[in-house]
Symmetry: C2
Subunit: 527 residues, 2 copies
């Protein structure tokens, strides 16, 4: 509890929410609802709706191409204080967000809210626009330098971190109104139909930009690969698009697609992977027709390979695997070890190829997979979900955005959304740089412990006491099943009791829960 | 002008619109805007938006199956006076709409508005529900017996006929609020993902139900082919779906897919086809990379075959062909004579197979193709559009819904939307059953003459005087180019001057234009 630490604040009012965290009730001048517990907040009202347009105002020949980003922004009626969105399918190879705000700056626009689906180290140059007032603040993950900038209390507004699903929810529900969406597309036609499977900046799909296309007042497609109508598949539909801009380069291919994603060679990480797979197998979570989501890190990839081995040996197959996809998952699909890949982003060229050519490699979106304010979503249908964390506490609460020194360096991604999977497992090292990962309390709460089932470390495995079924099944297992307190004790024996981060009482960002309520606050670090 | 004929009416107010037609300004107790001219009506406000839902209210395991249509309707909160929608992808083989209203009747529901994307002769049994008050009125095309029922003044409310695009517009803009959408799906999973490409009732796609899924308060999927999650492709997304019902049979395959669509053998119709193709060629409308939409009638099919011959001979290909698809169009795609089929409905099993297996056979929807209140749509991008008509007048205005005796027997379909193609050609016989098709004035105005470019009859071809470019190009053509008055004269020489239909002054239905304004009224016929 940080309540005692709070002495003064620039916020109207702070309250302690249902998770016991102190959060503001007004965020960037808009009222906010504190977290009420999982599934407890019941939304009311209707979804947001963009203005009605008419074909009479659009070119009959379908040609929406204008000469520059600047022209497109001006035609969109760029005004100070607008919200401008971009997507992050190009990851650290994005060449568009900078060009957008260069154009905004050239026009003389001020006080914009940047609403990326995520930001990356490549966006560090935008700090100058945060400093000169072109950008007022960012709502979206701030990886690396931008996060540090915010952590040091230098950003004007409050950062708002949402999961992928939470971002869709926020847009759909009208919590965030996008004035202008700029959607970078590896292929597009002049009408605005667009996809991510073809072109020099191929990134697989454009699902993170779906909400932006559907709900923004104005939509600009930028591409470096204009194709004749129709651009097939139309992952983004031109009927939502106002203008198309052709640029020399929208992304740096080798930074979009790492091509280097490799399974881990670290003996400790390999052990985590092996124990995780073994745990799943012993607990009966793997069966003919099961489903899983593992992720793209070295440990996760290795877990996938163990899963594939088990399936192959028994003549089973998964019904579906959730991507982020990569060559290992594609191999499983092509070998017939899974019926489908349901994919939110492709992490390598094999993923892109497979999504382009294989109808069973299906592109998904935060709408299908993660939006909590839908009529269900896919996340709760997944049997086994493998996730990471920067910290876990003794109540299984977890943190993914700050380090133990309090610095905000990561986004939430789909992490919160995936917590709704049937069994959520966090294979994590017991300590990093001699700092224990399991603590009395997480620096920042991103995921309530009741949704996290198993912690796998290199010194033992802890099962959430709520999962009596798993505890029962693992009785007599050769695996080192421990309590979470035991794991914490082991870490502290080795590394000592970790110090609390040195934080001020100034809130610089908030963590939204999947339903739009405020789960926790992120504090300015001490100089 | 029918002004003189109107003496009394049950409507609050009648006005003469920009097309010179008398129309009501209140329709089924809601205000209506009279037609203002093409592209003249500028909509304001925002699209409609369904209620915000939460995953907390839906089953975490994704299983939305309930035991019966009745249970699903009750769970949806069925109340008297609601609007219930269905789609017409099963055409005259639909087995769902009847079962829906049987269930409504069993529940004791009254005064429903039925909002089908189209109705067919198979729906004749619903007349009993129009008579007993289960259904108050129908908004949607009324083919055959239902149209005759309305024409005789027997339906309570006013029929509202919309094009496919107009239906999407009406739903999107909130002109029609769907309380409960019932979407029949040849394949679906328990989560509600659904498609039309697999299963005993395969119909190819479900595009006509897209708006219903997106905008209805409650959505019910009915299927006779429940598959394990995920149902791929998900043409309808389960995230929009509330309940899934499994029925024994949702459609009669041989009536969904005719399998008998054949090119015409009538010498007159073949002549129409030949002249139409020749006209297009001489006028330079066919080129390497052109696009066309012809339709599924015998004449239209023959025109497509002529087009294919021309392409093959010159080594050209179409960039895209619009469907309704059939085996002839599929042959063109497979032979490489067109890059893509952009398809709104599949008319035979070859169309279904191709859509299922060929990624270049692309399913479209009224949103992509026809919605006039979008940011453009595909219809204005098509080079050559071939359409039919029941009547054409000397100003090139055309009718597709009533016969010359005034009976309302057909729907509008995508006809109005297709009028926005670059060149619109109507190959029609000069007379049918010795009744001239070209008249001084159409019985019902469905398409303003300024959008209709060429009339091809077996006695000559008339070019709309507005198309000076075509008139210029066809100078010296061996084809029998005439004026429309000449064609009318020829018909009257042979058949005599046609009599006006015997109509009362009672309006029984209205024709909406693509922008939601009221284009014309349909009158009760005299007993």
């Amino acid at each position: 509890m940080k309540t005692g630490e709070i002495r003064m604040s620039k916020f109207d009012k702070l309250v302690t929410n249902a998770a016991g965290r102190v959060v503001p009730t007004v965020i960037n001048s808009k009222p906010a609802v504190p977290f009420k517990g999982i599934g407890k907040f019941k939304p009311s009202g209707h979804k947001t709706a963009p203005p009605i347009t008419t074909c009479a105002d659009y070119p009959a020949d379908g040609n929406k191409v204008v000469s520059s980003l600047k022209e497109a922004l001006l035609k969109c009626g760029l005004t100070d204080g607008m919200t401008i969105s971009t997507h992050h399918h190009f990851r650290n190879g994005d060449r568009v967000a900078l060009q957008v705000f260069d154009a905004v700056n050239e026009i003389g626009g001020k006080e914009m809210m940047w609403f990326p689906s995520a930001s990356f180290p490549c966006h560090e140059p935008l700090i100058k626009y945060l400093e000169d007032g072109t950008i007022h603040h960012i709502e979206g993950s701030m990886n690396g330098a931008l996060g540090r900038f915010a952590s040091e209390g230098k950003m004007n507004g409050l950062g708002v971190l949402r999961s992928h699903g939470g971002r869709y929810q926020a847009v759909q529900d009208g919590d965030v109104h996008i004035d202008i969406a700029v959607i970078a597309a590896p292929s597009a036609d002049a009408f605005g139909n667009a996809n991510g499977v073809n072109g020099p900046a191929a990134c697989g799909l454009l699902g993170f930009a779906l909400a932006d296309s559907q709900y923004a007042d104005k939509v600009i497609i930028v591409t470096d690969n204009l194709v004749p109508f129709p651009c097939i598949p139309w992952q983004i539909q031109g009927n939502y698009v106002d203008y198309v801009v052709v640029l020399d380069q929208i992304g740096i291919p080798e930074k979009i697609i790492s091509g280097t994603t490799q399974i881990t060679k670290s003996p400790d990480r390999l052990l985590l992977a092996e124990w995780t797979a073994e745990f799943c197998d012993e607990a009966g979570l793997i069966y003919d027709g099961f489903s899983f989501q593992s992720g793209a890190g070295g440990t996760a990839l290795s877990i996938g390979i163990y899963f594939a081995d088990i399936l192959r040996k028994r003549g089973w197959k998964a019904r579906f695997a959730r991507g982020g996809s990569n060559k290992y998952l594609v191999q499983m699909l092509e070998e017939g070890l899974t019926d489908y890949i349901l994919d939110g982003q492709t992490f390598d060229l094999e993923g892109v190829r497979s999504m382009r050519d294989n109808p069973n490699h299906v592109n998904t979106s935060p709408f299908t997979s993660y939006n909590y304010h839908g009529k269900g979503n896919f996340s709760s249908l997944v049997d086994i979900v493998i996730l990471g964390a920067t910290e876990v506490d003794v109540n299984f609460n977890a943190n993914v955005v700050t380090h133990s020194d309090g610095l905000l360096l990561h986004g939430i991604g789909g992490w919160q959304n995936c917590l709704f999977g049937k069994t959520v497992i966090l294979p994590i090292p017991l300590f990093r740089d001699r700092i224990p990962v399991i603590r009395d309390e997480v620096t920042t709460l991103c995921g309530p412990g009741e949704l996290i089932d198993v912690i796998v470390t290199e010194r033992g495995i802890a099962i959430n006491p709520r999962r009596t079924d798993l505890i029962e099944k693992m009785k007599g297992s050769p695996l080192p099943i421990k309590t979470i307190q035991e794991l914490k004790g082991t870490a502290e024996q080795i590394c000592g009791i970790p110090e609390k981060p040195e934080l001020t009482d100034e809130i610089i960002a908030v963590i939204k829960w999947v339903d739009g309520t405020v789960l926790d606050s992120v504090y300015k670090v001490k100089e």
